[in-house]
Symmetry: C2
Subunit: 428 residues, 2 copies
């Protein structure tokens, strides 16, 4: 495993864990054939320097799939997107930042209004538009800035790299880094692409995050298969990200697949192409997940917890999430303190089965690996070496919890002064 968190451009490094070739390409959600995007400032946010209104459109009808927050309190856009994606087809995604459109009396009206605006201007059906909102909960929201900005949003639709970046920028809230990726791979001799934009970065917890991720692909795939792949994918990607333990009301992952790569349509769960597409998608969602964690509110480090030796995958996920979500572990990572007792403590209360007397804990980073706990107890280790390892910006906590065959990985970040600062007065 490589511990270089960032590539030469300062972006989180993409890792290809598949056994086929994946090439990084420019263009984000506009990289796949037949997709355009746009992002403008329409005035939902006061600051004119921050884009707040985004649109992604496919030239042709798409197979569509979605995954949404499990919070009982759901934003109106979540409710409407769940409905609109349920037939497996869509052509556009419209999204605003600056207001979550959640717990607002006119929430459904606004969500419908946003879909209708896009549908009217694009000449498509309203229920082929998916919608998402992010920002403060419970604030009154008006259609006015979006109505005024809609012409500009549509006239700025382009299929180039800049258009994807503008859309990515428009969905950001407290994110400090734009989150975007596009990859190219081969399916039955055809070049296929997957692109994605996303935003974090607080109110993020297993079972999705205040996170939005919009994924485009030109792969030809049946909608029910696409939905199955996505539903399975999030269990080990977005659901394994935890910034602060708060599961948002608005989490949304949407995938549009327009088929323009002209590969043989994927309709069979047992086919080779199904495997390749699943793994290619996973490489994208893993990349985005790491990005979300590394850019968690106030974060200075990406923390990765790798569980091994578990009696099942579900159990491993539970254990990994419990370690990553622990405020005390997070604070210790901020302080580069090899306080492994807190890791055992988090394993112990997380509800996962662990064989306490067989637990071992290693810390790893670009500076090396150090074993700090073996057979559930202390081992002699160099505090100096541990400090050196933990001062890096990408830390792995590798934990073996028994003799089982299963593992899982969760991603999170450290708990810092800046998290408190950012969230002490988010609304002002």
């Amino acid at each position: 495993m490589s511990f270089n968190l960032s590539d030469e451009n300062g972006n989180i490094k993409f890792v290809n864990n598949t056994n086929f070739d994946i090439t990084l390409v420019e263009g984000g959600v506009c990289a796949p054939h037949g997709f355009k995007a746009s992002g403008i400032h329409c005035g939902i946010r006061a600051s004119r320097t921050k884009r707040d209104f985004a649109l992604i459109v496919s030239d042709v009808d798409c197979s569509a799939a979605g995954a949404f927050t499990k919070n009982v309190v759901k934003g109106a856009p979540v409710v409407l997107s769940q409905k609109n994606v349920s037939d497996g087809h869509a052509r556009a995604i419209i999204c605003n930042s600056g207001n979550a459109n959640t717990c607002a009396p006119n929430g459904m009206e606004i969500a419908h209004g946003m879909c209708r605006l896009a549908a009217d201007k694009l000449g498509i059906s309203e229920d082929d538009v998916l919608v998402a909102s992010t920002g403060v909960i419970g604030q009154p929201m008006s259609m006015e800035p979006m109505e005024k900005g809609m012409d500009e949003l549509v006239s700025n639709l382009f299929d180039d790299a800049m258009a994807s970046k503008y859309a990515a920028e428009a969905i950001m809230t407290t994110d400090t880094r734009l989150k975007e990726i596009a990859i190219e791979f081969e399916l039955g001799g055809k070049n296929c692409r997957i692109g994605a934009i996303a935003k974090g970065s607080g109110m993020i917890n297993p079972n999705m995050a205040t996170m939005l991720c919009f994924i485009t692909t030109d792969v030809n795939i049946a909608p029910e298969i696409l939905q199955r792949i996505l539903s399975n994918d999030i269990l080990d990607s977005f659901n394994m990200v935890c910034v602060d333990g708060d599961t948002s009301t608005n989490d949304t992952v949407l995938v549009l697949a327009n088929g323009l790569a002209k590969n043989d349509r994927i309709t069979d769960e047992k086919s080779y192409d199904f495997e390749v597409f699943s793994e290619a998608l996973r490489s994208v969602t893993t990349y985005i997940s790491k990005n979300l964690a590394a850019d968690g509110e106030g974060a200075t480090k990406l923390i990765e917890c790798n569980i091994r030796g578990s009696i099942s995958i579900e159990n491993a996920r539970k254990a990994a999430s419990s370690v990553i979500a622990s405020s005390l572990v997070k604070a210790a990572m901020f302080g580069a303190d090899a306080n492994w007792g807190r890791i055992l403590c988090a394993l112990g209360y997380g509800g996962a089965y662990i064989d306490v007397n067989k637990v071992s804990v290693d810390f790893a980073s670009a500076k090396g690996v150090i074993n700090v706990c073996k057979n559930g107890g202390a081992v002699d280790f160099s505090e100096e070496k541990a400090k050196e390892i933990l001062l890096e910006n990408y830390i792995a906590i590798n934990v073996s919890i028994g003799n089982g065959k299963y593992g899982a990985t969760a991603w999170g970040c450290d708990l810092t002064y800046d998290y408190v600062k950012i969230n002490g007065d988010y609304r002002t």
Copy 2:
């Protein structure tokens, strides 16, 4: 409800919610008849100014009850105290701070050694000694300082107020305030007393906290009844305290009841005396719970979440705990930000049943009450007034979640820079 957090001495104010008289008395765990306590520095901690070794002893045999952490990773003292309390009898509690005696290879040996030391010096049976430890997990521990200090610990056993304070001081870790109380009330014409000392203040979460609470009483009560009362009590007291979401490995609540008040022995769950003792104990555990929350690591405020309108008590507890545990709610309280959307969000993911369209949220403090959410949505309110209310050091978040008849209360604190600072490098 009174929002004066502190009394004239700067201690958390005691509230009597029973319909009988309760008088605050001096003396902590030494206030009930026939109890002595001691607290010294024996050298587990380097700093000679901090006591680290405590002992509480009853002159006669006691009915004993205990409640312990649900963490799968348990400190050795927890395992041994569970065993020693299981016969319903005990006479002494021995406790050290500075080392949790958890995940240490010689953990059981040390825990047994501590009980044996006390038993030998006091001339009682080893299995009548209960033991607890608090401090860092996974550090090697030696009997040596305790062996050397035992004579001093026993020769400093006194039944006065200072002795209780020394014991309370000796069990503190990152606590900033000593936690102690004693009350007097009447049972069948006899004056009875309950005293308690406790420590917090990080690694605190529902299902107990890194908290130790030792309770003494001279009430005459059958052990199985005492255990039943304690097990029931913690559901609405200690289990409703959350500082940081981390359930400790060492949480321990112990009650010793020596019967010297000479009331008619409580043996019947349906008796009036059973009710009176239960409520008196609850007033003590509620006081201690509020103390633990208010003195949570880095805390500047006590936050209380009162849930009403729930379909069951269990459901209300779940909802209250979810709000109190939310990092985002805690950070908003630190910033005196009336960001009620985060409260709805926390209610939504906490697993409690809520009738979203009927949720209302009020903030209350010594500065007044303000309604910020009604029928699950925004209401117009004065941000200025809300800020004034939230700038106080004792805040209630009053939430109605539907038309049910049940309620519950949870206590916590704000999330501050100091929490991060304290936990960024706890071990040094």
